[in-house]
């Protein structure tokens, strides 16, 4: 499903942020991505989502080489992904409902389908009843969960979650992890960047560890 083959990424000024990273995730696998602050986790996600592109090496996603994708095709690849951003990236002047509905609207679902899917996603993250609120009137953890709902609402092939539980209490974190495992059960691949050691240790999934851009461990 996702394959990194000797991928390196450098930013002008700061130099290499990822160095010869190689790993492979199969369909329906959950993996944690850890590493110190600034290790390159978000950069790795950005390469998969083609937010940054100038990498060396080869990234295969769903049997396609991402470096071969033309700009005009990027939106269609992104629709197969569910992206959870470290800084949420919500539309502050739209309601929670509109935020979560955005991927569905973009993909041209009908109003009825959108209504059903959005409410289902919001109930999974415990935000049913907050559809009409604006993101800025939500607590930090609630905003984070809106971002999670938006990432899963359109049933992507892969979920890329960048620090999805940074602002959630332990119970909610466990619930969100449970949600990801439900997706895993229907064949969705999940990659989660996190600092939460206790979360990693309680769950028995593969752990990829980055250190200054090098993949130093890939253990179960």
């Amino acid at each position: 499903m996702l394959e990194f083959d000797n991928v390196s990424m450098r930013y002008q000024e700061v130099g290499d942020v990822l160095r010869n990273v190689s790993f492979r995730l199969t369909k329906g696998e959950i993996a944690f991505l850890t590493g110190h602050s600034g290790a390159g986790k978000s950069t790795l996600f950005k390469l998969i989502a083609m937010i940054e592109r100038g990498n060396r090496g080869k990234i295969m996603f769903n049997k396609r080489d991402l470096s071969q994708i033309r700009s005009s095709q990027i939106p269609y690849i992104r629709r197969e992904m569910g992206l959870i951003f470290q800084d949420y990236k919500l539309l502050n002047d739209r309601t929670v409902f509109d935020n979560v509905a955005l991927p569905l609207v973009i993909m041209g679902y009908s109003a009825k389908e959108i209504n059903g899917l959005v409410r289902a996603a919001l109930s999974k993250v415990g935000l049913l009843g907050k559809e009409r609120k604006l993101p800025l009137t939500l607590s930090g953890g609630e905003q984070q969960r809106v971002g999670i709902a938006r990432a899963v609402v359109h049933k992507p092939l892969i979920i890329l979650a960048d620090e999805p539980t940074g602002n959630l209490d332990p119970e909610l974190s466990a619930e969100i992890m449970h949600l990801f495992e439900q997706f895993q059960n229907v064949g969705v691949t999940v990659l989660i960047a996190t600092h939460d050691i206790s979360l990693i240790s309680t769950l028995n999934h593969r752990v990829l560890r980055l250190d200054h851009g090098n993949l130093v461990a890939s253990v179960k």
Binding site: R79, L117, A121
Partner: protein, 339 residues
């Protein structure tokens, strides 16, 4: 908008987990063509009216934009009407550009008429009018204010005069002079006089005002373009985050730019209507004094307002301006966003 790779949901379960994930579908397999057409139309209609809704929601914002645009458009329109009205005035004034042929004292009215008919055949002549001695005296009295003085004369000292109005003479001062030379050759003609002084004055006045108008026109067009572009650019800027986020969750460029094109349309549309009202109001205010003037000139001058088709053109052009302006700005901004 491309439909390739577009997911069409088939099931309608409420739980996103239990529902089996839709396999990737292309537009060839998912739904009938008519369904797709409806969805496409719905999406456009929704964008059109939601853009109006957004405009109404950000009232002050939209109001100011429309005011700015409609003022610049109405300036351009006022300018257009000025040109159209001046053109009419020019036609009116053309009659003052005439050649007076003073015939010898002994030429009879009959031969004067014959000469007039001959001149009429000249292709560059528009009209010839014969002024008899009596008419000339009357006109002279009226015009010069020397009425009593002239009336005191025993014998009418004035000759028969032919008034010749050349065609398009205003534009080609030189030609008129050769025409005069020609007329002078006729035996009946004592001397010919061209009110060239007036012609030149008029020509120069028209030149000056044309020059001023072209300059104003350039400036105004520039103003309208820059103001439109700038307003839309700033609106884009305030919605930059929205665009970035939409693109991150899979929006195509055409999806992103659609609301901008629509709000560009609405802004242009309302600005056009608004401009029409401003211009019409201005013309109504001007109307009275212009008509007074026109009466004094005994001229058939009537103030031109925006006609039906001109109004349609105005609204069409300003709507297009909004759309094109948005389009250009959005393209530039999308380029800058790269990813």
């Amino acid at each position: 908008m491309k439909h390739k790779n577009k997911h069409k949901p088939r099931n309608n379960h409420n739980s996103i987990i239990e529902a089996k994930r839709n396999p990737k579908q292309t537009s060839k397999t998912g739904g009938t063509f008519v369904d797709k057409l409806y969805a496409y139309r719905d999406q456009h209609a929704q964008a059109l009216f939601s853009s109006l809704g957004r405009l109404v929601a950000s009232r002050l914002n939209a109001l100011l934009t429309v005011i700015v645009l409609s003022i610049s458009i109405s300036l351009a329109c006022g300018f257009y009407l000025l040109i159209m009205n001046t053109k009419q005035l020019t036609v009116d004034l053309e009659s003052s550009n005439q050649i007076s042929l003073f015939l010898h004292d002994d030429v009879s009215l009959a031969s004067a008429n014959r000469l007039a008919n001959g001149i009429k055949l000249d292709p560059s002549v528009q009209m010839v009018k014969v002024i008899t001695k009596e008419q000339a005296l009357k006109e002279f009295e009226d015009f010069s204010g020397f009425g009593d003085a002239v009336r005191a004369l025993e014998k009418n000292p004035l000759p028969i005069v032919l008034q010749v109005i050349p065609k398009n003479s205003l534009e080609e001062g030189q030609n008129v002079e050769t025409l005069v030379e020609n007329f002078k050759q006729a035996a009946e003609v004592d001397f010919a006089q061209l009110d060239l002084h007036w012609v030149k004055r008029l020509q120069t006045m028209i030149e000056v005002s044309q020059c001023a108008m072209i300059l104003m026109g350039i400036l105004l067009s520039l103003a309208v373009l820059v103001i439109t572009g700038n307003t839309i650019r700033l609106e884009f800027h305030t919605r930059r985050d929205e665009i970035i986020i939409a693109k991150l969750v899979g929006a195509t460029n055409s999806f992103v730019q659609r609301p901008f094109l629509y709000s560009g349309f609405w802004i242009g549309f309302f600005s056009g209507i608004n401009a029409w009202f401003i211009v019409t109001l201005m013309m109504l205010i001007l109307k009275q004094s212009v008509e007074k003037l026109s009466m004094l000139y005994n001229s058939s001058f009537h103030l031109l307002f925006m006609g039906f088709f001109e109004t349609l053109a105005l609204i069409f052009v300003s709507s297009m301006l909004g759309i094109v302006g948005s389009w250009v700005v959005v393209q530039i901004q999308l380029q800058q966003l790269k990813s």
